[in-house]
Symmetry: C2
Subunit: 397 residues, 2 copies
């Protein structure tokens, strides 16, 4: 049985502690977070596919390729440590080393993430001065402070917890995420940190994470941009004292499902917290020539500024959806296309069904699904997105 | 010698007449335009690459593939006649036939364009009733009325005229365009109508148009969307009594340059009239692995909502530009990238030069150029775009 736990703050699994505080990178808000496992943990990560990558992304990639194990994740918000050249990499390494000092562990056991403005150096003095007190403040209840310290333009905290029995042992998978604007699919496009007290074989952990991310964070589109620092990390420390899981264990599917559930809930919250967003829209494409073409078509719709501003005005904007499908690059015959808003068919055989009023009633709501059938093959895809409001522009201007 | 003529309204070359009026498709503004050549004219067109195409686009493609000649262009604004199925094609054909009746010419000599809302039928009764009076009102000075009747959300009329000597004959090339939102490159993404009293061989005319469109309308990006109805048409009627031009004529390059000039001026006005736009930005990419990769990188920057909203706030947003280059799909090594705002180098070797204040002074202006050097090869590209303001969202919501 899997139990989903919606709570006011991040609940950490057994054997994890966290802390978050303000060390002066941002003006007022918490800006430094620390997540620590009391036991050595299996670790895995997925990272942005952007060719421009923050120093912490390059650092973590390198670290995890050397050894899939870690004890701690240190995260700052406010400055991304991106486009900072060699100095940036030295700063990321130094941040890991000073964190290890504060924890009495080894520098290679510390993963590092940064989010915020591009092109500025980290204020290493603030960070180094802050790490000692932060480590002293670590607590099993520190999730609330830590998850606040990773936020930037986010307006809500994003966390989710599931409890499930794996090999007869009560186990927890929990996570928190950061991300509001600059969100596009094809990799996380935000920060997410996942923790479990299950014992998981590192190779399996990596595979399970990849699959969960693909079905969740990679389904998300807020504004079509992929960030330079997007990172999802998971630590599995085995503190629940259950069996070591891998893909041959009978409860492996349950673990995979639990992890996917946590990621889906976090990804959904990222869309709902899209800068200025007022609507959650699922874009489904069916009947494409291939899954890749379905994905391309769904993303073209979900990333169309015209479609998204239309939705913000409460209009179905199905003509703009047709337009976006048309320039997506997906192959189809216009005369075969069908379009639905929830269960209202607005386009049949490429032409209007005249049911604009019913579609408008659906688009006036805060959540709906747009389904396009391309009549070409069996490729399907689903993308989650939001509307684009004047508020989005105000935030980013 | 080429003389550029900036005027208050479209100046038609010899042997052309035009008219524009309100027939009731839109509530108040002019909505039906007619452009007529007194002599049979060579004709050519370029059209949207969108898979979803308005009936008039399919009609004109078909017409011009049968014969590269025409006498008239009839255009309505308000309704696009797109996603209207077989009925839509019948309406486009009927619009051509009734126009031919009013002009006393043949239906196959009439080209048809529509722009406006997708998914609605044209009000054929209004259009048919309006065509007679419109034809009666045709005048060599009718360009002003006609160019007003093709507009939708445009806030300014867009026209340009050049006069040049071709084969010793004083010749005119003139044009008008419509387009403000829904503007992306890779084909016109708007309506433009070009007229010349030069005599031009149809095959050459088609080639010259393609080349001029590629260097102008296809360089434009306002919001990344390509419309279903984008069309550029040219009529060359020979009324100037000059020699018949083709690519072996010594003055062919002069004709090509003149046509390209008109297209560039119209395209530039479309960007300046981008919905809510306050800045004209040229995005140049140099040193890409290929021209195609340069184009992809430049478009990623020009279409990035984050970049464009940043510009609207008067910020250089160079971190967001780096991010967009990174996810564009163009191959490059981050450590080799250079970035300039006009002549201010903001990024060298992938890292900030610290010249943010100087860049901010440039981005505060109403026109600037962002140049990215990828250090990979010799591919270059240039895209013209604008900022994205709250006003854009207001207009489209």
């Amino acid at each position: 049985m899997t139990e989903m736990i919606g709570s006011d703050a991040l609940i950490l699994p057994a054997g994890f502690r966290a802390a978050g505080s303000h060390v002066g990178i941002k003006r007022k808000h918490k800006d430094l977070a620390l997540f620590v496992s009391d036991l050595p943990a299996a670790a895995a990560g997925t990272f942005t596919t952007n060719r421009v990558q923050g120093a912490p992304v390059r650092y973590c990639r390198q670290r995890l390729s050397e050894s899939p194990r870690a004890r701690a994740i240190v995260v700052n918000s406010g400055i991304a440590n991106t486009c900072t050249g060699r100095q940036g990499m030295q700063d990321a390494e130094r941040m890991a080393a000073r964190t290890a000092d504060a924890l009495g562990t080894e520098s290679h056991e510390v993963l590092v993430c940064s989010t915020g403005r591009i092109g500025e150096r980290l204020p290493m003095d603030c960070i180094e001065a802050g790490l000692g007190p932060l480590a002293e403040g670590l607590s099993p209840d520190g999730g609330a402070d830590a998850e606040q310290a990773i936020l930037t333009t986010d307006t809500i905290e994003k966390h989710w917890t599931v409890r499930l029995s794996l090999g007869g042992t009560e186990t927890t998978i929990a996570g928190c995420a950061k991300g509001a604007g600059m969100i596009e699919p094809n990799m996380a496009t935000m920060l997410a940190f996942l923790f479990t007290d299950a014992a998981v074989h590192p190779a399996g952990l990596s595979e399970a994470l990849r699959s969960a991310v693909d079905g969740s964070f990679n389904r998300v589109s807020v504004d079509g941009d992929r960030s330079t620092n997007d990172t999802v990390l998971i630590l599995a420390n085995g503190a629940a004292d259950g069996p070591v899981l891998d893909d041959r264990h009978p409860d492996w599917p349950a673990f995979q499902t639990g992890l996917a559930d946590v990621c889906r809930h976090l990804a959904r919250k990222i869309v709902l917290d899209g800068e200025g967003a007022t609507k959650f829209v699922t874009v489904r494409v069916k009947g494409a020539a291939s899954p890749g073409e379905a994905d391309r078509a769904a993303r073209a719709v979900a990333n169309s500024l015209l479609v998204k501003t239309g939705w913000s005005g409460g209009k179905p904007s199905w003509g703009r959806v047709m337009d976006a499908l048309g320039y997506s690059g997906a192959e189809f015959d216009e005369g075969a296309v069908g379009l639905w808003y929830d269960d209202v068919e607005t386009v049949r055989g490429g032409a209007s069904t005249g049911r604009d009023q019913q579609a408008a009633a659906i688009a006036a709501g805060s959540e709906f699904t747009v389904t396009a059938r391309l009549g070409r093959g069996s490729g399907t895809a689903e993308i989650w997105t939001c509307d684009c409001t004047e508020e989005y522009v105000r935030i980013n201007a």
